[in-house]
């Protein structure tokens, strides 16, 4: 690996970390407050100010960060100290590194150097995502066990059962997609969606619905938030967490939301592609700027489109969260095993038949 690739990779990692932790995590905290507030005929948090400027409540994320950093890090008596500290780290890391294989742009040639806007172009990118996301279960289970609290234990148990079962269903929902695009590489899947009529959502919208349900269940947000249901289990597995450890669970949730949205964009919504315009046409439109600059402009537009789609899907997730009541725990399991799993198997069968008979032309 040359020094140029190294720098390129570091820049891309920096971009992703900046985008998720630096931008989306505090922004989502703000959006969650403000969107829900406006939705519920309220105003929302707007009191944190800096010399009189409230910036419509944006400073609350900053104020929260400052408050939580200085908060006492409380470890209950009888808790497993090492595991109690380790659990939030285990929870936050997988959600972050899953982003490595999600392409946030295409391949562009800039000044003789080919830039591929994905951190790691793995051939088994989809499998990698599932492998990593299953690791997140450990953080939750360990947190529930190590807290030495009955509510935490119940939350951890619920979380582990829920996350394991939905992993199976989630894996199966995208099998049809993999058959359709004939690739496990995320970059390939995105590249094959340059035609609007090859987008995943056009051919595989039932898979999208199932995938989104599974992904939200993996992330344990309403309506699948039985593991942390505040009315039942106080706060579930992170009842005994405070300060920065609590923030890590909380950030993990938000980053995972971004990851889910990124996955959906890459798999179903054509990644960085603008509908009806291929990358070459997009760059061609700016050819009067010269080949390099036109490619750069196309790249920026591509990343912008990706982020736009990301935000749209995030708002969809937020709206679901503020609209739905919560499932009961056994109903979640029933839904996963008795509804989503058979449906996704059926969908695989339908896609197979479609591809064999030529109804679903594989791009």
């Amino acid at each position: 690996m040359g020094i140029a690739e190294m720098i390129e990779t570091i820049v891309k990692i920096g971009f992703i970390i900046g985008l998720t932790i630096g931008f989306f995590a505090p922004m989502l905290a703000w959006v969650e407050r403000k969107q829900s507030a406006v939705m519920q005929d309220r105003i929302g948090a707007n009191r944190a100010d800096f010399f009189g400027f409230t910036v419509i409540g944006l400073l609350h994320s900053l104020a929260d960060a400052i408050k939580l950093i200085f908060k006492e890090d409380f470890i209950p008596r009888g808790a497993e100290r090492a595991l109690h500290t380790l659990a939030p780290v285990i929870a936050v890391i997988p959600s972050l590194i899953a982003f490595a294989v999600i392409p946030f742009g295409g391949k562009y040639t800039l000044w003789g150097h080919e830039v591929n806007l994905v951190i790691a172009d793995l051939d088994v990118g989809v499998l990698y995502v599932f492998a990593i996301s299953s690791l997140a279960t450990y953080g939750v289970v360990i947190a529930g066990w190590a807290s030495n609290n009955n509510w935490s234990l119940l939350g951890g148990l619920r979380a582990s059962a829920q996350m394991f079962s939905y992993e199976v269903a989630m894996g199966l929902t995208v099998i049809g997609l993999i058959m359709f695009y004939q690739s496990l590489s995320m970059v390939d899947i995105v590249a094959k969606q340059d035609n609007f009529f090859h987008w995943g959502i056009i051919w595989h919208w039932p898979a999208f619905v199932l995938f989104l349900a599974c992904a939200v269940a993996e992330n344990k947000r309403v309506p699948f938030d039985a593991p942390e249901a505040e009315a039942e289990l106080v706060a579930g597995y992170f009842t005994e967490y405070s300060g920065m450890k609590f923030v890590m669970f909380w950030t993990a949730e938000f980053i995972e939301m971004v990851t889910i949205a990124g996955l959906c964009v890459a798999l179903f919504f054509g990644g960085h592609h603008v509908p009806f315009i291929t990358d070459a046409e997009l760059a061609g439109g700016f050819s009067f700027l010269g080949p390099n600059v036109s490619n750069l402009v196309a790249m920026l537009i591509g990343v912008g489109v990706f982020i736009f789609k990301l935000v749209a899907l995030l708002i969809l997730q937020m709206t679901i969260r503020w609209t739905m009541p919560r499932f009961r725990y056994d109903q979640i399991m029933k839904l996963g095993w008795k509804m989503i799993l058979p449906l996704s198997l059926t969908w695989i069968f339908i896609v197979g038949v479609g591809i064999l008979t030529g109804v679903m032309p594989s791009p």
Binding site: L154, A231, R328
Partner: protein, 402 residues
């Protein structure tokens, strides 16, 4: 090693025991301060012990130290989500003891305020149960509706939560100007919010699965345990004090009693939702028919005279001083009067020895019998079912613990 010839007892063989867990008194779901001591087998509730009394304030003893009129602020704090209904219950009980009847207009005003208070109680209950099931937006919509109702109540009696509006032989003030227009516009908004709430939850399958067939009780059991109010009507028993023993002007009004079928949480929810509509109907009818006339009994012995009279007439002044210092001299005897509270039958049993203070003021709180039946309802179901059941039972700490 297990011997196949004898019965295999899982609990003995695996050396497991139920997980004993304290739910409350400071658990998010146990609003109104109550404690459940749960024995859990996995997620199933094997054993439950309901501990009440965290909000005990000695209401009944406190009343014995107050003048007859001074009890009203304390009745506010029984069912604080619908405090005017408690005021009305107590006032009717005292009036029964005295044997007076309030003027017609006063009856209408009492019904209007009572029904508004009932609406606020139902809004609180339904919204809170939506909140505990995770539907925060629906909760806020009903809180909004409740705030609007409270705005009306505030414009009449000066307080939002502890109304302290009714007095022996009357009410403290007449309806303000523009009351009818106010109510009309608020009801228009509230019907819209009701429709939104209804659409968000009633046909939502997640909500249906949580509510339907959970926490059911048969009508026989319900009557045996002393259920009243929406929880009894959900079992299919059409018992409502307003219809069974009409007081005030309820016998002249046209309204229906919603009843359910099986007595589960969903029936309770639907009954309450429908009662909101019926309450609006009652208020609208009352506003159409309300006559003019005095709002208080014209007898300074029971209801203090107006300020003008106190300033100008010697007799009124004397009566006022006597009543204010010694209290209304309620004739000796005892009386029980029940009214339909937001939660069920609120009964006041009063004993007087002819003095200015009650000798005994006993309250029949509607949620006490229902809370005591909670173990019967909930044993054997899941931990998550406890939440909607407890919400629909609607324990109000101030009323249950007194």
């Amino acid at each position: 090693m297990t011997d196949s010839s004898r019965d295999y007892d899982f609990y003995v063989e695996s050396h497991t025991e139920p997980m004993v867990i304290n739910m409350g008194p400071s658990h998010p779901a146990t609003h109104g301060t109550v404690k459940f001591l749960l024995g859990l087998d996995g997620e199933t509730i094997k054993d439950i012990d309901v501990e009440i009394g965290y909000l005990h304030r000695g209401f009944e003893k406190e009343c014995e130290a107050q003048l007859w009129n001074g009890v009203f602020p304390y009745t506010d704090r029984l069912d604080y989500t619908a405090s005017a209904l408690n005021n009305i219950g107590y006032a009717l009980a005292v009036e029964k003891l005295i044997g007076i009847e309030v003027p017609e207009r006063c009856k209408y005003i009492r019904v209007i305020i009572g029904e508004l208070a009932r609406m606020s109680g139902h809004y609180t209950n339904l919204g809170a149960s939506a909140l505990e099931l995770g539907a925060l937006t629906a909760f806020i919509y009903f809180v909004e509706a409740r705030e609007l109702v409270w705005d009306i109540i505030e414009s009449v009696c000066g307080a939002r939560l502890t109304h302290n509006y009714v007095r022996i032989g009357g009410v403290i003030s007449d309806l303000p100007d523009g009351f009818r227009e106010n109510v009309t516009s608020v009801f228009r908004t509230n019907r819209g919010l009701w429709a939104d709430f209804n659409k968000l939850l009633t046909k939502n399958r997640i909500f249906l699965d949580r509510m339907r067939d959970t926490g059911a009780i048969s009508s026989d059991d319900a009557i045996e345990w002393g259920f009243t109010g929406p929880c009894l009507r959900a079992c299919g028993v059409g018992y409502d004090v307003r219809k069974a023993n009409p007081y005030l002007i309820y016998d002249q009004l046209d309204f229906e009693i919603p009843v359910g079928e099986t007595g589960d949480n969903f029936d309770r929810y639907l009954v309450r939702m429908e009662e909101l509509n019926q309450s609006m109907r009652i208020v609208e009818q009352c506003l159409e028919r309300i006559p003019g006339g005095p709002i208080n009994v014209d007898n300074p012995q029971w209801r203090q005279p107006s300020k003008d009279d106190i300033f100008t007439e010697m007799e009124s002044m004397i009566f006022h001083f006597k009543n204010a210092i010694e209290g209304v001299k309620v004739p000796a005897g005892e009386a029980y009067q029940a009214v339909e509270g937001a939660n069920g039958e609120v009964g006041f049993y009063l004993v007087s020895n002819g003095g200015g203070k009650p000798v005994k003021c006993r309250v029949r709180p509607p949620c006490f019998p229902m809370t005591s039946a909670l173990p019967l309802i909930i044993k054997g179901s899941l931990l998550a079912d406890l939440i909607p059941t407890f919400d629909m039972i609607n324990l109000i700490g101030g009323e249950c613990d007194r």
